[in-house]
Each structure stands twice: as C-alpha cells, then as structure tokens.
C-alpha cells in the first residue's frame, strides 16, 4: 500500500458518485477532443493550402461555369506556372447517399498544380493519362468503397446525364493517390475532362473553375488583377482569389463554427467544474473525521493536502484520458466518412497536450479548496465530527 493506493481507494469508495463525476469529465473531454480536432482539421485545410495557388471562378458564384477558352488565355499571363481546369461532377457510387467528390479535370495539368499535396506513383499516373476512362482515386475513398487498382466501376452523376440518357459513367481505376500529409483529403476522385465533355448531354466546353499555380506568391496580387481584368465586361466575368481565401470563405458558409465550438466546449467545462468541484468538496467534508484520524496517526498535513489534490487530479486525468481516447475513435470514424466536409480529422499532439493541461487545471481548480481545507483542518475539530 502507498499514498496512490489510498488516493485511489478514497476516490472509488462511493462507486456511483465516482462513476458519475468520471463520466461528466469523460463527456467534457470527449466533446473537447472531437470538436477541437474538427476545428483544427477544418483550419488545417486553410493552412495546408499553398500560398502559390489561386482559384478562378465565375464572379456570380462557383456553381456558374466558365468557357474552356479562358484556360488558354490565363495560361498566357506572365508569372503563371500551370493551370488546371476542373468540373464538379456531383458523383455518387451505387447509392445517391454514397456521395463521391468527383472532378473532371485536365489530366495533364492536375499534378502540375496539386502535385505537392497528391502523391501518385509514376506508372499509375502514366496509365491514367493513357486511358480515357481512367480514374484516380484517393486512398480514403478507395478504402471506404473497397476499390482496387484495375477495378471497373460506375459512378453516377446527380447533375449530368450522358447523351444516351444514362447518369452512369464507367471508369477504370488506374491510380490510388495518397496525401503528402495525414490531413490532406484523399476522398476525391479525378477523371479526364475530355471523356466528360464528349459524353455529357449539355454544357459542353464549359468548365467549373481553374486551379492556378504561380511562379511566386509575391506575384499573386498582380496575376489576380490581370486575370479578372482580362474578362471584365464579358458574359462570364471571373473572380480570382488565393486558394486559402476560397477555402476559408467556403468553410465560413457553414457558419461561425469556431464560435459554436468554443461556446460548447466552454459551457461543458463550466458545468463540469461546478459538478466536480461540488462533488470533491462534499467528498472531503464527509471524510473530515478520517482526515483527523490520519493526522492523529502522524500523517503530515502537507501529505494529506497532496493526497486530496491527488484525488481530484486522478479523477480529472482518468476521465479526461478516457474522453480523449473516445474522441480519437470518433475522429477516426469521421475521417472515414467521405461526405464529411473536412479532411482527415486527427487528434494532433497539440490538442492532446492542451487537453492534458486542461485536465491538470481542472484537477487543480476542483481540488485546491478541499485540499487546503484538509491541510488546515484542526485534529480536535476533525475528531469531534462523526
């Protein structure tokens, strides 16, 4: 037996109270872990977007198309390294609820613009280029749907139809790309624009938007102006912006998530603080006599102070770590859900360290008053209370 054993036995002496307080801390840290991981992942898509990448969209909004002829004109602007045009396909696999982020792209330029984020073996890339019906798929979406290299799969569109009336396009999986970091989204699939353009029943020779890579981020401002000036007063005016700005704006359409997350986490912690603080104070008050006995036996006041504080610390860390473990499972689950609107959600070390700091703070705040009371408790007063 040692002091830790005593701390543990004191903590668990009333199993229901122990379970309920542990559960409340568990819930608070589960919420904290999950929401913070979500928020971090959400922000990381902004952070991970390269400074030398721009996006050009229709000025009305990003659902409106642009003529494909714009691509050649933009490519001619000085300071631009590569341009890839992309179309949103509105794809799903087998069932409309199983949505797949599907893009029809200029297959020859995709990796010139996004090659830093998307990693694809060269032989697979070459095979994709050669096959008009070739498809490259992200590792996450391949895993989810059980796709392998060489599989021939149909993807339906909930926007477009083929000239023969079918909404299904057939593809051969020629490549499976991975992300250069765990937070790069690998839920997308990409196929040849030519295949799309030739087979769809309407909207030929139009693109959705252009992804642009510049030679230097310092040139961005000038290039943005040059592109948008080029198409001003045309039927399809453009709006060009850094990729970061586009992603941030897109995410903000979901609402002020940060404020919501902070509010939920703060509310959860405040409630937990009250519950655990009250519970600890009550637990120590009930043990006044026992603390008096321990002091009588010769236990130093400081040692008892540490034991009481140790109880609240142990409680906070037990509940908190359990909460983080479950948050990790939830984050993994969400990361596997392709329809989820952010890339891989992971509990980064920074989140874990922050959570550990919060656990220590929670343990300290909820335990300090009972611990000081125990420290100052007079033996005679304590022994008189039964």
């Amino acid at each position: 037996m040692n002091d830790l054993y005593l701390v543990y036995k004191n903590l668990t002496r009333k199993p229901l109270r122990f379970f309920l307080t542990l559960f409340s801390i568990f819930i608070a840290f589960m919420i904290y872990g999950t929401l913070t991981a979500f928020e971090t992942a959400r922000n990381s898509s902004v952070e991970l977007s390269a400074d030398d990448r721009l996006m050009t969209l229709n000025k009305i909004n990003f659902t409106q198309p642009l003529p494909i002829s714009y691509v050649r004109k933009v490519e001619g602007i000085k300071g631009i390294k590569a341009v890839v045009h992309m179309n949103w396909f509105g794809g799903y696999y087998q069932d409309p609820s199983n949505q797949v982020q599907t893009f029809a792209v200029d297959q020859t330029k995709l990796f010139d613009v996004y090659g830093e984020d998307m990693l694809l073996p060269d032989d697979q890339f070459q095979a994709w280029l050669k096959n008009r019906q070739g498809l490259i798929v992200g590792r996450a979406i391949a895993k989810k749907n059980g796709w392998k290299l060489g599989d021939r799969i149909p993807l339906n569109s909930n926007i477009f139809t083929q000239k023969n009336g079918s909404t299904a396009w057939e593809f051969d999986i020629e490549g499976i790309y991975t992300g250069s970091s765990p937070q790069i989204d690998t839920n997308g699939v990409y196929f040849h624009y030519d295949y799309f353009n030739k087979t769809k029943s309407f909207g030929g020779d139009y693109i959705g938007w252009m992804g642009i890579r510049t030679e230097d981020p310092a040139l961005n401002e000038r290039i943005i102006k040059a592109i948008d000036d080029m198409f001003v007063n045309s039927p399809w005016e453009t709006e060009t912006m850094p990729e970061k700005v586009f992603i941030k704006g897109f995410l903000e359409q979901l609402g002020n998530i940060s404020l919501m997350i902070n509010s939920v986490v703060s509310a959860a912690f405040f409630i937990i603080l009250v519950i655990v603080g009250f519970s600890m104070a009550l637990a120590i008050q009930e043990r006044t006599n026992e603390i008096g006995v321990m002091k009588t036996l010769g236990f130093q006041s400081l040692r008892i102070f540490k034991m009481v504080l140790g109880e609240s610390m142990l409680l906070a860390f037990l509940g908190g770590i359990l909460g983080l473990l479950v948050a990790n499972v939830i984050a993994d689950f969400l990361a596997q859900a392709p329809q989820f609107p952010v890339p891989d959600i992971i509990l980064k070390w920074s989140i874990i360290f922050n959570a550990l700091g919060l656990m220590a703070l929670l343990g300290l705040v909820t335990g300090i008053v009972p611990a000081v009371n125990a420290l100052r408790l007079n033996i005679i007063t304590a022994l008189s209370k039964r």
């Binding site: 037996m1 036995k9 002496r13 006995v293 321990m294 036996l297 010769g298 236990f299 006041s301 039964r386």
Partner: protein
C-alpha cells in the same frame, strides 16, 4: 523527573476561548507517568479528561508549562515535528474505532507503517504479527463493515501497536461495546501492558473498565485525585 518516568507534566495550564467566554481547563497541573504504567483517567463530562488526553497525545498543545516525554520536551515542537513524534511514539485507540471504511483490516493496520521506512516485506510481517496478537489473523481481508464492533476495536488496537510505540492512548475504548466484548478488549490492553510493557493511558467513564488499570486518576475541574486500584 526519574529514569523510569515516561511522561512528565510540569505546571501545565490549558485555556481556550469559546465565543466570548474564556475557559480555563487546567492551571498548574503536575503529573508523572512511569514506563509500563496503565493509567485510567475518570471524571465527569467537562472535567478536562479528553483535553488532557489530547495534550498527552500531542494533538493539542498546552497554554503554559512544560511537557516532557522520555527525557525530551514536546510542548515546544512544531506541528510537523509533533506529527512525526506521534507516529514514532504513540498509538491511538478511539471509542468509535475510526477505521478507514474503504480499507480492509490488514490495510487499516498498515496505515501507521506508511510513516516508517520499513520495506514491504517487513510491513507485511508487522501486520501479521499485530493481527495475530489481537486474534484476527483470519480476518485480515475483511472490511470494517463486515466485522463486529469488538472485532473493529481489535483491528484498531492492532493499528495502534503495529509500529511498536511506547505509549498507547485510549479514549473510551470500550464505550461503544457490550460488557463481554469490553472485558475482552480491556484484557487485551492489560496483556499489552503486562507482557509487552506498553504504557497505557485510558480515559473512561466506566468504573469497571478502570478496574483493569493499575491506577486511576479522578479528574474534576482540572485537578485530579489519585486512587490505587488492584489490577
């Protein structure tokens, strides 16, 4: 102070303030307790016997005078020094046993040993010896709630003697027990005094219990009258 004297109180006073009232419990109290003594302290409620026991046990300090234990002054010790002194020298036995309800008998007995530097093996041996001495070897794993009052008090005695203190202080040790169990506990205290040389000071209301002591001091209004009893 003589060589065989364990405890000496010299001109001890104790007073405290309760509300607006200044209460004087002792004034100029002198007493000497020899090694191996078994002393019963009796007296009406409010006579100061618990206050005296608290002072002898180092859980309360006198307002004036000197308290000597085994040749050293204890009334000048700080709170933490007193805690260490209690751990080394005094075993406490309470009326309501005061066992830790979440610990089994063996763990309760082990508590004072956490204040020593004994190894785990030595602690285990000491616990076994103490429990055997009080006749509860077979109850080592039992929780206090699974034991009778008499058994709990025996565990409390085992806890008091496990670190082999010179002095045992008993505050109404049989106050919560029936006559037969009380006699068993008192016989055990007598055994500890007679066979193991423990000095015992016992506060009690019970004249029958006092008969087990070698002598009895009657305390009244902070002063006592000594009367020899046959053990």
């Amino acid at each position: 102070m003589t060589d065989d004297s364990l405890y000496d109180l010299k001109n001890v006073s104790k007073s405290f303030v309760k509300g607006k009232e200044h209460i004087r419990v002792f004034d100029g109290l002198n007493m000497s307790i020899k090694r191996g003594d078994f002393l019963a302290i009796m007296g009406p409620s409010g006579s100061g016997k618990t206050t005296l026991l608290n002072m002898l046990g180092g859980v309360d300090q006198p307002s004036g005078g000197e308290v000597w234990f085994d040749g050293a002054r204890v009334d000048t010790l700080s709170e933490s020094q007193l805690a260490r002194w209690r751990a080394n020298n005094v075993g406490f036995i309470f009326q309501f046993y005061n066992l830790m309800p979440m610990l089994n008998a063996a763990r309760n007995v082990e508590l004072p040993l956490l204040l020593t530097h004994l190894s785990k093996k030595q602690r285990k041996k000491s616990i076994e010896t103490a429990l055997e001495l009080v006749g509860l070897s077979d109850r080592a794993k039992h929780m206090p709630s699974e034991m009778s009052g008499g058994q709990q008090q025996r565990v409390a005695i085992a806890r008091a003697i496990v670190s082999d203190p010179k002095l045992l202080l008993c505050d109404e040790p049989t106050g919560d027990l029936d006559r037969q169990t009380a006699d068993e506990i008192l016989e055990m205290l007598q055994l500890l005094n007679r066979e193991f040389g423990k000095t015992i000071i016992m506060v009690t209301h019970d004249p029958e219990a006092a008969k087990y002591a070698k002598r009895t001091l009657h305390l009244d209004k902070g002063e006592f009258v000594e009367r020899e009893l046959v053990a």
